[in-house]
Symmetry: C2
Subunit: 429 residues, 2 copies
Amino acid sequence: MQQAEIIAVGSELLLGGRLDTNSLFLTEGLASAGIEVRFKSVVGDEEADIVEAIRTASGRVKVIVLTGGLGPTLDDRTRQAVARATRRPLRRRAEAFEGMRRRLAVWGRTPTRAQLRQVLIPSGAEVLPNPVGSAPGFYLKWKGCVLVALPGVPSEAKQMFAVAVAPKLAREAAARGRQGRIARRMLQTFGLAESDLDLRLKGLVRAESGVRLGLLASPLGVTVSLTTCGIGLIADSKGERVLDRLVKAIRKRVGAYVYGEGDETMEEVVGRHLASGGLTLAVAESCTGGLIGHRLTQVPGSSTYLDRVAVCYSDQAKIELLGVPKLLVRRHGAVSPEVAAVMARGIRLRSHAGVGLSVTGIAGPGGGTAQKPVGLVYVGLNAGRNSQSSLIREFRFHGDRHSIKLRASQAALELLRQWLVRRGSRARS
Amino acid sequence: MQQAEIIAVGSELLLGGRLDTNSLFLTEGLASAGIEVRFKSVVGDEEADIVEAIRTASGRVKVIVLTGGLGPTLDDRTRQAVARATRRPLRRRAEAFEGMRRRLAVWGRTPTRAQLRQVLIPSGAEVLPNPVGSAPGFYLKWKGCVLVALPGVPSEAKQMFAVAVAPKLAREAAARGRQGRIARRMLQTFGLAESDLDLRLKGLVRAESGVRLGLLASPLGVTVSLTTCGIGLIADSKGERVLDRLVKAIRKRVGAYVYGEGDETMEEVVGRHLASGGLTLAVAESCTGGLIGHRLTQVPGSSTYLDRVAVCYSDQAKIELLGVPKLLVRRHGAVSPEVAAVMARGIRLRSHAGVGLSVTGIAGPGGGTAQKPVGLVYVGLNAGRNSQSSLIREFRFHGDRHSIKLRASQAALELLRQWLVRRGSRARS
């Protein structure tokens, strides 16, 4: 299998507290062309360091993708570094200039002197037009290696890779008689710890099968990934079939905990169910502070099913906005199954939404007691025309304030998802 | 200046869509010890790749920090790779075993056979105890290089670096007669585009001054950073003085747009002002969907000043929860300065909070028109006992749904911050 290195250029990636996110979609894109990313590197704007990184990469992989350092300022040294590392002098290229001129003309501008630096391209390289910004990229074959240079701006790098680079890499793989691609599946789970999941999936994927099983835990759950790679390329259709079988086997063992496939989020899954069921939702949040609303509204079109969210941080707000009786709060405390139940019911009745969802808990770091420690969370769901009673779940989460908020929001959305799935299958039967 | 490379080990960092976040605090920590991070690398779990990465690093830097690959499974190969790269065979170390035994005893457990792999340490290395998890790290001097291996779990790596590694590196720097450290300042701005900020700061930092000026744009604004590095180490106190002067000069030019220093967030700044002013806040959100509430409640102790947040996604919710007149919505549309004003006033009056903050806008991708395009956002603020009128600001943001939500939340919080600052200076005068 062909192997690649991704080199991200930019001092802000070393010093500025910023991470290289381009490598995420580049890794996926390269995998689709049957190329495995073996190394990722980050260097600053120093030309010598970029040259060193390119030389190191050329000694260990056949495909090098550089991002960043193609801008118009004197700090942008990727062009010069590639020229030095590959001994291909920079030349002003007419097609690069033409692309930039046309792109700027749309905005009523002409290239500045600084921008003209961007049309200097190593000789022998193919110019990659930039449909979004001013910096062109390039594609260079050199000593049996392919070297691709793309801008650092994610939207530009993404488009240029998809439009110009990926098809080229796929054609070259085909020309070498290698039409394989790395196949990949992901299952999103919530509610089982990583170690329990590991135990339940034991023995499912044999080491010699050419498939790699990965578990990745986060506050939103554990992602199970299957990748055909490592031991040797499996031809397209065979790899896909092997993974299909494994996905089925995994679902058999832990299906109740699987909420989505691929990179689908919980809020997308829940939104899909609400939309197809013609249901509306209202949410009463306490310790999650608006996070559930924020997540639900990340999905385009969520206004068709999300009616309102009431974040009741104070007890007074719970009483006024949700009709939670003062006595109930005094007797059981704001963090109690009783209050979670009344919150879900209150928000549903007042909004006339189809479903009411509630969360109350202690996100910490302060506010915990021996009986009600930090991380104690109740989620509630109320639905149905005359429903007096709400579904309630209790959780005891670990972690800092942010992860407790994340876990609590996920637990509430998962309760809603399970209810929506049950409702869907009742409706079908 | 001493130079370092950070190597993150783990296939999930290549294939799993996960980024190496440990390098962020390691970079800061190394800078405090006067060590500049020159390269960052990521490799998978293959032992040969880890060996290759260590050898490459040892050829270009003097300090190598490895994270990850110290776990108990057979996939964890960092120990073996270091042993191979440095030719220091692994030995079972009593102090590593003792630390692990004591750590597990707290949880009522004894080391498993797999966990015993973790007490194998390259000979000649110093064992770094892990106060949080089971995997010890180690610190090895080899061929004039320092090699540090830490677990990949961020909470463990962070503590071990702070407690055991940073003081050691500082002592060694002192022994070499180098007590300097890289000084660093950050200013957080909102409201000026990166290019405008660049123009306004032109000529402020001369290339030969030994200070690097960086601008880093995101939907939350532009971070201006100043770092003493690159040209040569400036002694502690001198570097700090130079940066203090530059911070003052920057504030003179763009002070109105600076909302915070260091890595302070807008929600922390606003929270500090609210707490010190003894004020309470209520928020009415529409297009931001709960994001403002989520951000405000990320700050521990926010329950003392945040009363409630009403996310009114439907027009009906705006009418019911905020008392926005139906006619007003019909006449001006939900996204209008008129509705933003009434939302801010409505949430304040109903909650009896000191300040009411509102946002209404079109986050897209759908829902835009020629008059009211995607990205049009109004934010409003209402305060004072008998205040009929609200402060209103109009914005036209670019970007996708998520960045429009982020920008809108930041614009609302910035309006609140400016009002709080003015109120504070009136109170003092």
